[in-house]
């Protein structure tokens, strides 16, 4: 079972919902923080850290003794990560997508791959929850490979909850791919609705079932509810706006710490999804 919590718009409560779902889970569960540009779930989980490892991607290294500056590699590379300058090819590792094409095409066998760090994965444990966090290095643009790596690190056979990055572009798509169900967290505002529509269109194009949680449900207007009715999207839960929740969040206290009674609603929701 793989449930992904996504949103389109940022700051709607993805992490809050992910943590609450993990805490409400009746048995071992793995919570993956795939918002690798800005991972936040550890503030609320406070896991005991068990291990950390670097994640690398392979980037080309040119053997200048063998390189004849023929330019075949740079004409294959659609990402402009290799250019021929003078007597040898030159690599721009930050542009490389690690497709491996240059290694294979080089007529002189002058290219090998060496690992280049893009981020790290931290594994921890908090009660019944195994936590995995991906954290992208500052200055790295390569979020998708790190998201793929942190998803692959989940223990075999354990149910998985994934806290996805915001937006509807490559990182979000990488996070939701392969999900059994996508929970879209939104807020009842024009921005929330606009970005929810984009997120719904994206998960539908990927052929994934989804439902909606409306956070701060009494803060805006009813256009999100009407949209969900029209599109026949299940509204799984509405969480009213509360200063108590906002203050708890600011301190790093989880939703279920601020409002323990909500655990029943999250348990019911998990049963419905399953």
């Amino acid at each position: 079972m793989k449930i992904v919590i996504a949103s389109g718009k940022g700051g709607t409560g993805k992490t809050t919902v992910s943590v609450a779902l993990a805490q409400a889970f009746d048995g071992p569960v793995c919570l993956i923080d795939a918002d690798v540009e800005e991972p936040n779930s550890a503030f609320f989980m406070k896991p005991i850290i068990e291990s950390k490892r670097d994640v690398t991607v392979p980037v080309p290294q040119i053997d200048s003794e063998k390189c004849t500056a023929c330019g075949v590699c740079s004409s294959l590379c659609v990402f402009n990560a290799i250019a021929v300058a003078g007597q040898s090819a030159l690599v721009f590792p930050e542009l490389c997508h690690s497709c491996g094409g240059c290694v294979r095409i080089c007529p002189q066998n002058a290219i090998t791959e060496q690992p280049s760090g893009i981020g790290e994965i931290t594994r921890g444990q908090a009660a019944h929850i195994t936590t995995l966090e991906g954290r992208l290095n500052i200055g790295s643009a390569m979020a998708p490979p790190l998201i793929r790596a942190v998803k692959k690190a989940a223990p075999e056979g354990m149910p998985v909850l994934i806290d996805a990055p915001p937006g509807t572009s490559c990182p979000m798509i990488t996070a939701v791919t392969g999900a059994d169900f996508v929970v879209l967290v939104t807020e009842p505002t024009p921005f929330g609705l606009n970005d929810l529509v984009l997120a719904v269109e994206t998960v539908r194009k990927l052929g994934l079932p989804c439902g909606v949680i409306i956070n701060r449900s009494d803060s805006g207007d009813d256009r999100v509810v009407r949209y969900c009715e029209e599109e026949k999207i299940r509204v799984l839960l509405q969480i009213p706006e509360s200063r108590k929740i906002a203050e708890a969040y600011s301190r790093g206290d989880s939703l279920l710490t601020a409002k323990p009674e909500l655990i029943h609603a999250f348990r019911k929701l998990l049963e419905e999804i399953r």
């Binding site: 540009e37 503030f43 294959l76 937006g167 572009s169 505002t189 984009l198 194009k205 200063r243 301190r251």
Partner: protein, 288 residues
């Protein structure tokens, strides 16, 4: 022309509400929405589209089934798990395809096409506060960083032609590819944050990025009164990281109410948030 990019690290802190207000407050401004995969600024500025351009970026692999021999070479070479084989029939998953062209190059019967990919549209529009360049990334399309670069470049060109005094850019959340494309070489960055552990953490990460690119950085704590202690801690940490903390914005339901009316909060009323944003703008003008 003065270029200001409004970013946040953490999403949902109020970037777009602040940008929309600045658009209303600035004289002779040009706007750009660089949050291309969850663009919202148009909901406040109600742009009238003058020009629409298609955004082609990169290529995507497409297998011609009639020419495919089913050898599986493409599946073996693809590092993005984009080749799907079902009962000996091979096809490419467009959402997973990175557009690298490795399968196209090495397919023994040359059975893979590599057409240009239409990834979205970008627009030049008129608004009540000036011109605006914005975009819409295609659903499940790639290359948002490139589209961000186009929006920024086009906005800079229009702004130069119109001799605009300000170029106000609404940026994306995070620290990755689209953020890097939004801020590289920018005149100044305003980071809108919130007084939470997540807000602080994400602000400090994005400040590492602005420092890396040597961009003058200002911060403003939105909803500061949710946690005054945290607000002070964030402002101190930002100062230590080399950024200047400016006017705080109090929690004010007017920001949501203005959004529902399709207005920036400074156009909606003279409440606490509107007053603070006006002060913030004045302070920024003084610094820039």
């Amino acid at each position: 022309m003065k270029e200001l990019v409004i970013i946040s690290g953490k999403g949902g802190t109020g970037k777009t509400s602040v940008t929309g207000s600045f658009a209303a407050l600035a004289n002779n401004a040009m706007m750009a929405d660089c949050d291309v995969d969850a663009a919202d600024l148009h909901l406040l500025l109600n742009p009238e589209i003058q020009e629409t351009h298609e955004f082609y970026s990169g290529h995507e692999a497409v297998i011609r089934p009639d020419d495919c021999t089913g050898c599986g070479q493409c599946e073996e070479l693809c590092r993005f798990d984009a080749v799907i084989s079902e009962n000996g029939i091979f096809r490419i998953d467009p959402a997973a395809c990175e557009g690298c062209g490795v399968c196209v190059q090495f397919c023994p019967p040359k059975a893979i096409d590599f057409p240009e990919a239409l990834c979205g549209k970008w627009f030049i529009s008129k608004t009540r506060h000036g011109r605006m360049v914005h975009a819409r990334l295609g659903i499940a399309a790639e290359n948002s960083g490139k589209l961000v670069s186009i929006v920024r470049k086009q906005a800079a060109q229009v702004a130069a032609a119109l001799q605009a005094e300000w170029l106000l850019i609404d940026g994306p959340p995070g620290t990755g590819c689209p953020v890097i494309a939004s801020i590289t070489g920018a005149g100044a960055v305003l980071i809108v944050t919130e007084p939470t552990l997540s807000g602080e953490h994400d602000l400090l990460r994005v400040l590492q990025l602005t420092r890396h690119f040597e961009i003058p950085s200002f911060i403003s704590v939105n909803k500061w009164d949710i946690n005054p202690g945290m607000t002070e801690r964030i402002e101190a940490a930002a100062a230590e990281a080399g950024a200047t903390a400016l006017e705080r914005i109090p929690y004010d339901a007017s920001i949501t109410n203005a959004q529902i009316q399709g207005l920036s909060v400074v156009e909606y009323n003279d409440g606490p948030a509107a007053t603070a944003i006006k002060n913030l703008w004045e302070k920024l003008c003084h610094h820039l």
